[in-house]
């Protein structure tokens, strides 16, 4: 599903974020991505979502080479990905409901079916009662869950989460991890970046560890 082969990523200014990274994630697998902050976790996720492109090496996502991907084909790849951002990237000019509706509007989904799907996604993350609220009125944990609802409403085959439990207390964290666990059970491929020891210890999954841009054995 995701395949890195000798990937290097250097930012303008010479900073090497990733060095010779090679790994593979199979379909339906749940994998943690760990490491200290600045180790290159976010960069790695950005390469998968084609927000950044590698300097050398190849990144294959669903069999497509990110480096060779034409900009016109990019949106269609991203529709198969559910992205969960550390800073949520919610839109505060619209309701909770309409935030989750956006991915379906983008693909031109039938409206009545869209409404059902949005409600199902909100229900899954426990925000159904708040659908009319503005996201700004939500707590940090709720905003994170809203971000998850938006990422899954399109039923993506791959979920990428960047520090989803970053600023949350233990109770919220396990709530969110339980949601991820349920996606894993229905066959979604998950890559979750975290430095939360509790999460890694409590949920059994393979972990990829980055240190200064290099993958630890």
């Amino acid at each position: 599903m995701i395949k890195f082969n000798q990937v290097y990523k250097r930012y303008a200014g010479g900073y090497e974020a990733l060095k010779n990274v090679t790994f593979e994630i199979a379909e339906g697998e749940m994998v943690f991505l760990t490491g200290h902050s600045g180790a290159g976790k976010s960069t790695l996720l950005k390469l998968i979502a084609a927000i950044e492109r590698p300097n050398s090496g190849s990144v294959l996502v669903r069999g497509q080479n990110i480096k060779a991907l034409k900009s016109g084909a990019l949106p269609y790849l991203r529709r198969h990905l559910g992205l969960i951002f550390q800073d949520h990237k919610l839109l505060f000019d619209r309701s909770v409901f309409n935030n989750v509706l956006l991915p379906l509007q983008i693909v031109g989904f039938d409206h009545r079916e869209s409404v059902k799907r949005v409600r199902a996604a909100l229900d899954k993350v426990g925000l159904l009662q708040r659908e009319k609220a503005n996201p700004i009125a939500l707590s940090g944990g709720e905003q994170q869950r809203l971000c998850i609802a938006r990422a899954i409403v399109n039923r993506p085959s791959i979920l990428l989460a960047d520090e989803p439990t970053g600023n949350l207390d233990t109770e919220y964290s396990s709530e969110i991890m339980n949601i991820f666990q349920s996606f894993h059970q229905v066959g979604v491929t998950l890559l979750i970046s975290t430095h939360d020891e509790m999460v890694i210890n409590r949920f059994p999954a393979r972990a990829l560890t980055l240190k200064n841009g290099e993958l630890q054995p």
């Binding site: 979502a49 927000i51 949106p75 839109l91 509007q105 989904f109 039938d110």
Partner: protein, 302 residues
Amino acid sequence: MKNLSIQHWHVFNVTWRRLVKTPVASLLNVLVIGVALSLPVGGYILLKNTQHFSDRLVGAPQITVFLEADTTTAEVESTLEKLKALETIDHVEFVPRDLALKQLQQSTGLADVVGSLTVNPLPDALVIYPSIVEAEKIEALRDDLKFWPKFEKIQLDSAWAYKLQAILGFGQMAVIILATLLSFALVAITFNTIRLQILTQRDEIEVAKLIGATHQFIRRPFLYFGFLQGMMGGVTAWLIIILSLFLLNHNLGTLAQLYGSQFTLSYLSVADSLTLLGFSAFLGWLGAGLSVSQHLWQIEPK
């Protein structure tokens, strides 16, 4: 196909909401576009009306010859024969002085004045309809006729109409220049409006790109906005023109009545109205398109 129509409907909704969200700014924009467009369109309407008037005169040029007072009937007969023999003349109409006086009495509302005359002051006249239309040839014909015996005064009715046409040609160029300049202004207004919109919707554009929105999906609402704003500007211009013509015609009616004639400015035709709307919408769309292609690529998710 169904997806596409749903998307377009969705986009139209989004666009309309954006317009309504900033009512004052939108209204002012529409008003500026409307006023800017109404200037050349108003000029065009006035030109077209005058053109119509002068075309009628130029289309059927006449040469009127006033005969000397002592011309006898026999002399008139022989002159008519000679004129009819000319190839450049289609037909000739003889207007005896008595008939001319009667016509004057009927047509201009000067019945009282004419009635008080004891002597008919009008001369016999010949109205010549040339078979040629070129202004120079008609003028040459007039110059020839000047040397004919018993011809007192020769008047080419269409001479001033040709001058008017030359002036109209000048006016036409002025309207075209004005229209071109103001079209640029309209494109610039839309360009700037869309630029500001793109800046304020930076977050939305970024998120949309991240969750798989195509370029077209992101462009579309801005293009619709430009189109809609341009079209509403066109409608405003149309209303300004119609209202102005209505007011002008009201006053013109009074003026024309005093001169005993019925002259009104004709309104915009359906084709002209549709052209105006289509053109303003197109310019709005163009301005938005230019702005989008200039600014959208700068927003990439980080």
